[in-house]
Amino acid sequence: MTDFGFTLSKSSTLDLQNVDRERFEQLCKLEKGASVCIGCGSCSATCPAGILSGMSVRKVVLAVQRGQDVRSMLQCCMLCGKCTMVCPRGINTRNLILSICSIYG
């Protein structure tokens, strides 16, 4: 291959129809609440781990929906339950997190 000093950049487009929904569907079976998230960010705002590590349950849920790898996103979770307390949609976020921890490998 000729070296031109530049190459094609990887597309940053989210190709929605080719997103792998399998894990999200798996998650919805384990925690039905995963499907009703409205992304308000209450969980992330109140998260004691979020302030220091940038952890965000909202982003994790979105990333699972988008078929992305979330393994590195939950490592600071202390399961303290504050997110469960503030969620306006009543999502059992602790079960959500534990379920994600069990389905990603």
Binding site: M1, T2, F4, G5, F6, T7, L8, S9, S11
Partner: protein, 360 residues
């Protein structure tokens, strides 16, 4: 079957974006870069308009750059570009013309933008008049009509069709050729009302294709930039990004199997043509049939082929992507051995051919 959308819907939009294009007496200005990229194109424009159609097309050697590239690369302020443009208008005024026709899309966009700016801010126009006077003691009238040279070919497309020796039809199958039309971004995206057919579904090239017997290919990334993007290409570190945009277009048009691409901008044909080679080198992928690329032509080159000019006189040997498959489909006769013979049949030497994309 190609999906061509609801044709009546497009027609309705086209009808809303019509512009007055006078039939004669044009002051023609060339592009800075086209003469290097596809040198026969502008020559062919004057040839067709003057000799085939008998129009009054005036040119002057005093004409300079319009400043558009520098302006879009953020290296000069708009006032500087305006003063340069004012001088061009002064040349036109001095020559006694009122209709201004640039060959370059960026120039066209630049002129439109400046005229619109002056319309909004007359005081700025007054200042530029003053600056121009101070700089070179010239005065100017603003053009009555401004049209891009592709607008003129569009205006005369049916006259050309009437004189055509070849149609955009596959001689073997009798099917119309599938042609992708690519419009330069600065043609109508900034001022949709200034382009034939508007910005979303421009008709300027589509009209030519239809008149000359071809079929327009409508593919999802039709609106996307060719990838040139001035700063993106000019800074070498960004060239991967430039090419990625071109790649995106090719990936999107590939399933439609286009026979050719025509363009009306200086940069677009160049990058759509050359990047096909680089993409083939890097990914091994070609977009035409049998390992060829998709031929990329300027509208003047296409008009030339339709009117029966010799492909090598049209400068088609300077294309990276081989045009022979297109010529074969159209039934254009050509002498393969004459491909690399220049003016006076002087050997301009056959270039080294790449292995990744089929060329002659």
């Amino acid at each position: 079957m190609l999906c061509t959308m609801i044709y009546e819907g497009k027609q309705r939009i086209w009808s809303e974006y019509q512009k007055d294009i006078p039939d004669d007496r044009w002051y023609y200005v060339r592009s800075c870069i086209r003469q290097n990229f596809f040198p026969a194109s502008e020559k062919m424009f004057t040839e067709i308009t003057r000799n085939v159609l008998g129009k009054d097309i005036y040119e002057t050697p005093h004409h300079t750059t319009c400043g558009g590239i520098a302006y879009h690369c953020d290296t000069i302020p708009q006032e500087t570009a305006m003063t340069i443009v004012a001088r061009q208008f002064a040349l036109m005024t001095e020559a006694g013309y009122e209709n201004y026709c640039p060959s370059c899309i960026t120039s066209f966009g630049n002129y439109v933008e400046i005229l619109e700016t002056w319309r909004e801010y007359p005081e700025l126009e007054a200042r530029i008049r003053e600056d121009l006077w101070k700089a070179c003691r010239r005065e100017f009238n603003k053009p009555r009509y401004l049209a891009h040279s592709s607008d003129l070919i569009y205006r005369w497309r049916n006259e050309i069709a009437a004189k055509a020796t070849h149609k955009l039809v596959n001689g073997r199958t009798g099917e119309p050729l599938r042609i992708v039309e690519h419009i330069g971004c600065h043609y109508a995206k900034m001022f949709p009302s200034k382009g034939v057919g508007g910005a979303e579904y421009p008709y300027v090239l589509a009209g030519m294709i239809e008149s000359w017997g071809g079929q327009v290919v409508d593919y999802p990334e039709r609106r996307h930039c060719c990838g040139y993007g001035f700063r993106q290409y000019h800074v070498k570190a960004n060239r991967g990004y430039s090419m990625s945009n071109t790649y995106k277009k090719f990936e999107s048009m590939e399933p439609f199997h286009p026979d050719a691409i025509i363009t009306n901008c200086p940069g677009c044909p160049y990058f759509l043509d050359r990047w096909q080679y680089v993409i083939a080198e890097q990914t091994g992928k070609t977009y035409g049939e049998n390992g060829f690329g998709i031929p990329v032509l300027t509208y003047e080159e296409l008009a030339g082929l339709v009117l029966g000019y010799d492909p090598w006189d049209l400068g088609l040997q300077l294309h990276q992507v081989a045009v022979e498959p297109l010529l074969d489909k159209m039934g254009v006769e050509y002498d393969p051995s004459a491909k690399y013979l220049g003016l006076n049949r002087e050997d301009i030497m056959r270039p080294e051919l790449p292995g990744s994309i089929k060329c002659f």
